[in-house]
Each structure stands twice: as structure tokens, then as C-alpha cells.
């Protein structure tokens, strides 16, 4: 598994170039899909509007129009801002996004890195974005930004824990931290000897799946957990002072991370790139794997965005109570039960 077998020999720089392009595609395609499909269209239909209709058929090129608009805008930096920190913040957030995508396998041989501690790496790098958000909040020299940045920091730190604990059940059940192995464990698994659909962990780890989704919602600072950017209270939180390209970077970061967290959920709980009925070792999955994964991303993020468009937001203290008093005990109980059952069966 750990050696790259390719039909043609590629120099190291060529491999690097291919990987870079692939990473860009892997980050931007889900982000663009989610923005168009859900933020533009599904949200509009839920709110009895049509959404963008002018740019391209059914507004499908609206995304490009928006990007063009943001790129043309002036890159404003407040006079009192800490310029270096202010400028660097969106990139720090993006770094976290790009590091996250590394561990995701999209087929039996399609992966960026295949390390034995993949789950650990994913959950570790996902918290880098906190630093970027704190930098944005502090560096903007705005009171709204500061409130938003501090709210975000408290929230992201609190929800890191249920996120990790929810995945622990999966790790126990699969017996590995390697993401590719987790997918294969689901593909080759059996439900009491019936192996027709493999054993997607959502069946046994449904509690973990629910906790993971709630924690992801909070990590993405989406409603009902969007206090850091609550527009009716603190204007736009840590994003208040950003405009133009830097705002666009934050925006991409937000939706790319949504796509990648949805991909993680799909990989841990829904079998990743695998579809039932086919041999997981077949080369076919190297072709259709990415599409299968994208489909699952779209399905999982439907839930994320459905909640986003429906619910009002919590208050900061209610959010913390939900994390510490409900989600973490539930996740711990889930781990205990999973461990016991793992020993029993």
C-alpha cells in the first residue's frame, strides 16, 4: 500500500506539481459545489426565492461572477490594524483546510499521504484554523472583530473534544487510525455475516455520527452555532474588517472546510469512496471513487446546510453547556459501549 506504483516514472517535482493541482481541485470542487448547490440554490428554494438566475443557465456561473467581484474590490486594511497579523490570518485558516484534505483517500490508490495516524493528523490540523481566526479577530483592531474572534476561539476549542471523541468509536471499531484502512474495514465488514453492503459504521456508530455532525456544525461556525459571525449582534465577527480577496479567502476556507468535514464524516461513517456491490480492490474505484466521495459529501452537507438555514442560533453559554454537559458525556458513553461490544463480539 505504501509504495506508489505508477505506469510512468515521474520525477519528484512532477509528482509534487500533480499533487498540488490535485489538492487545489480537491479543495475547490467540493467548496464550489456546496456554495452553488446549497448556499445559492437550496437556500433560495427554502426561502421561496429563485436565487441567482442570470449568470449562466440557472445561475450556474454565479460563483465565477462572485469571485470576479471580490477580486476587483479594494483590499482595505484598517489604519489601527496589526498589518502583518491582519494580512496573514486568512492564509492560516486556509492552511488548515489544505492540510485536512491530505489524509482523505478517494480510491484504493488515490491518496495524498497514507499514514498510520491519519485520523490523529486530521483532527490535529483541523484546529489550526482557530489560530487564524484569533489572529483575524485581534488584528482587525475592531471591537466587533475582537468579540467574534474570542467567541470563535472558545467555541472551536470546546467542540474539538466531542469531534475527536465521536471519531474514537470508529477507530475502536476499525482497529486502526489509518483512514484508508477505516474505509476498507467498512467495505470488507459484515453485519452478522451479511456482507452485501459492507458495514458502514453509521449503523453501529449512529450516536458518534450525530455527535460528529453537531460538532462539525460548530467547528464550521454555521447556524445554530454561528455566534462568532452573528450578523445581528456583532456585524460579522472576525470578518467585519475584511474585504476583497482576503474576505474571499475566508469564504473559500469556510466552505472548503465544510466540504472536507463532510468528506471526513462520509469516510468515517458512510464508507468513503466505496459503494456496495463492487470489489473494493478493483481499479474501477480509482476512477469512480472521487465521484462517489463527492456524492457522499453532497449528501452529508445537505444535513449541515439544512440546519444552517432553519435554526436560530444559540447563546454563547448555552453552546458551551451543550458541548460539555451533553455531547462530551454522550461521546464518552459511546466509546465505552463500543469498547465493550468490541471485546464481546
Amino acid at each position: 500500500m505504501n509504495t506508489v506504483v505508477t505506469a510512468v516514472e515521474l520525477a519528484y517535482w512532477q509528482q509534487t506539481a500533480i499533487r498540488s493541482v490535485a489538492a487545489l481541485v480537491a479543495v475547490l470542487i467540493p467548496a464550489g459545489t456546496l456554495v452553488y448547490l446549497y448556499l445559492f440554490k437550496m437556500m433560495s428554494f427554502m426561502q421561496s426565492r429563485l436565487g441567482p438566475m442570470e449568470a449562466g443557465p440557472y445561475g450556474s456561473l454565479q460563483l465565477l461572477a462572485e469571485v470576479g467581484k471580490f477580486l476587483q474590490k479594494e483590499d482595505l486594511i484598517p489604519r489601527a490594524a496589526d498589518r502583518v497579523v491582519f494580512k496573514a490570518a486568512p492564509f492560516v485558516v486556509l492552511v488548515s483546510t489544505f492540510l485536512l484534505v491530505l489524509v482523505l483517500p478517494a480510491g484504493p490508490d488515490l491518496w495524498f499521504i497514507n499514514v498510520d495516524t491519519g485520523v490523529f493528523l486530521a483532527l490535529a490540523v483541523s484546529s489550526i484554523s482557530v489560530i487564524g481566526i484569533l489572529m483575524a479577530g485581534w488584528g482587525s483592531a475592531s471591537k466587533y472583530s475582537l468579540l467574534g474572534g474570542l467567541r470563535a476561539a472558545g467555541q472551536l476549542v470546546a467542540y474539538e473534544l466531542p469531534l475527536v471523541l465521536a471519531v474514537m468509536g470508529v477507530v475502536i471499531q476499525a482497529g486502526t487510525l489509518n483512514v484508508q484502512e477505516i474505509v476498507l474495514a467498512q467495505a470488507n465488514g459484515e453485519i452478522f455475516g451479511w456482507g452485501a453492503i459492507g458495514n458502514p459504521f453509521v449503523i453501529t456508530q449512529f450516536l458518534g455520527f450525530a455527535i460528529f455532525l453537531v460538532a462539525v456544525q460548530a467547528e464550521l461556525t454555521q447556524p445554530p452555532f454561528d455566534m462568532p459571525v452573528a450578523e445581528s449582534e456583532i456585524v460579522a465577527g472576525y470578518l467585519t474588517e475584511y474585504s476583497g480577496m482576503r474576505f474571499l479567502l475566508f469564504f473559500i476556507g469556510e466552505f472548503a472546510t465544510a466540504g472536507i468535514f463532510a468528506a471526513l464524516a462520509a469516510t468515517f461513517f458512510l464508507g468513503g469512496w466505496y459503494v456496495p456491490g463492487l470489489d473494493p480492490a478493483s481499479d474501477l474505484f480509482n476512477l469512480i471513487g472521487p465521484l462517489v466521495l463527492l456524492t457522499k459529501i453532497v449528501l452529508v452537507s445537505f444535513l449541515i446546510f439544512w440546519f444552517r438555514f432553519t435554526y436560530p442560533r444559540f447563546r454563547e453559554d448555552q453552546l458551551q453547556q451543550l458541548a460539555w454537559k451533553v455531547l462530551i458525556p454522550l461521546a464518552l458513553a459511546n466509546i465505552v459501549v463500543t469498547g465493550v461490544l468490541k471485546v464481546v463480539f
Binding site: 452573528a230 445581528s232 435554526y311 442560533r313 444559540f314 448555552q318
Partner: protein, 390 residues
Amino acid sequence: MTAPTQTRQMAYIAGQASDARVNVELETEGMTLNIGPQHPATHGTLRIIVRLDGERVISAEPVMGYMHRGYEKLTEVRTYPQVTTLINRIDWLGSFANEVPFILAAERLMEIEAPPRAQWIRTALFELSRIANVVLFLGDMGVQLGAITPVFYAFRDREFVLNQIEAVTGGRFHPNFDRIGGLKDDLPKGWVDETRGVLGRIRSFCDEMENLVSGNEIFQARTRSIGVIPADMGLAYGLSGANIRASGVDWDLRRDGGVGLVHDQLDWKVWTHPDGDSFARYWVRLQEVREACGMVEQILDGIPSGPVMAKVPRIIKVPAGEAYVETENPLGIMGYYVVSKGDLVPYRVKIRSASFNNVSIVPWVLRGVYVPDVISILASLYFILGDIDR
């Protein structure tokens, strides 16, 4: 024997001193946050100066006057029929209701009474403008709490009510339809049946809001026992309308006021809620929209026939005197104190608008709450900026 004691004493003193130093170093300063004049939550230009300790509000002070348009003074240079054009714009979401108390005050001075048909249609439009106004609140409260979808439903369904108002008056937001002695025109053909359909839509909108907003657990967690206003405190600050009824005070001028509208001939109920919190204010308004739908339906069934305009002179000169008329408008009690010296124009008009008094309780009710609750309490008090500043 003394040496260890002394050492301990010295250590104790040194410890206290260092503690004190740390306390001085760590002492946090409050932060002053200007919510407004331009802020997404104020939908207008209200400024609230908030002193914060972390996210907790130490003190809050509303600053008004950013939208002051001097209507009271402007009325002094306009003839009586022209004044309605101005006062339409006080509470711009329920404009027709603004005209009613002024016209009633002028009618009282002139000792004219509108014919019954005019009074019934007037009441119908009065209640329709209440529906148009409060329906938007029902959706907007969701936005203030972070739910973006309800407000679109509110705008969608308010549109039907505005269409009905437009069909009668020709104006969606500023009808300018009420006249001294009656109404400008009679109802258009087919209006009664169309309005029945619209009221059905509004009823289903209310059910939808009950499911989507007030039935939501997060909404309840955010509004229940938040911003509690006891009845005596509310009365002391001059709150009116749904804000005071949500504190359990059974007081509604439509029933208790006895002014020239036909509410006393209709079968309806004044809703109150004992809690006095943000949720109660939302709930009472929701019930009032339903009640208003019922009222309009009864009016549609029972409009008497006849003229819509009493005999009034072509040039309206109001005899000298004073009159104060107040009605239960969508936002609360609205009153006009009109002083006439027998001219074409009023000598002085004092407007008592509901939102000005409703906002005056803000410093008291916001003390000690969190920043997110500032927004939810302000939203639940439901003021219109034009109604505060005039």
C-alpha cells in the same frame, strides 16, 4: 521562637502584596461598544451605547434622534388634509393606522362623525395594517436570533396584505386614504372575497411561524425568561401594546378606549401572557395577528351599506379647541394631541408614539444581560425607528 513567626508573617505580607499586584495587573477594563447608529440589528438608525464587561452588559443607553424629521413642527404649516401625508411615515410598516387617531381627533374637534360604512372600512384597514406590520415582526424576530428563513416567509405573505391595502387605497406603504369625515373612496369590486383568501394565507403563516420559530427549542432557550419586564415596571415606563400585554396587563384601547372605530361591535379577545419575557411578547403578537384576521373577517361579513363620506365643508377649517385621541396601533398606543385656533392649519400637534416609550425601558431591561440577549430583547420590544424619532 520569634524568628519563625516573623518569617511566616513576612511571607504572609509578601504573599498578600504580590496577590494585590497581580490583582491590579489583571484588573480588566470595561469596553464601550456602540451598537448603531448603523448596525444590522437596528433596522434604522438607533444607537445604543453599551458598557460591557466581557459579554455582559453593565449599562446600556439608547441615543435617539438620528432619524428625527420634525413632523410635529411640519404639521403646523400644513392644512389638516395634508397632515395625513406626513404622519403616514411615522410607523412606516403600518401606515394607515397612523392616520386614524389624527383624523379622529380632527373629527372630534369639528364634531363630525364618519358614516357607519366608513367606520367599518376604516377598522378593516386599521387591522390589515396591523397584520402587515406584525407579520414582519414575526419573521424578523427569527433573523435577529440567527434564523434567516422566517423573514422571507414574512415578506412573501405580507405582500398579499399590502396588495389588499393597495387595492383600496392606491398606496402600499403610504395610503393617505383617511379623510376627515370618512374615507376617500369606497371599496373596489371583488375586494371582500379576495381579502378572505388573504386572511387564510395569513392564518397559515401564523401556524407556520408557530412551528418554525416559536416552537423551536433553541428559540425558546433564547427567549424564555430573557428580558423579563414585570407589570408594574412596564407600566411605570409607559409601555403599551403587546409589550405590556405580554407582562400580564389586560389593557387594550381597542376594547377599553371607546374611540370611533367599531371594535366594540366585533367578537374578539385581548391576549395576555403572564411571563413578561421575550417569548411572551412574541407569543402575544402572534395571537394578535390571528385575532386581527378574525376581526377583519367579521368586518367583511358585516359592512353596512351607505355613503363613505359625511357632509364636510370643501375647505376644512377646524374650530378652536383641543382634542387628544389615542388608539391601539400595531406598536402600541398612539395618540395625537391637536390644538386648533380655528385656522386651516393646526396650531400645535403633539404625537405620542408607542415606540418612544417602549424603548425607554431599554436601560433598565438590558442591565446585566449578555450581548446576544441585547439583540433578542430589542427585537422583542419591537420598535420602528420612525416611530421613535418622528
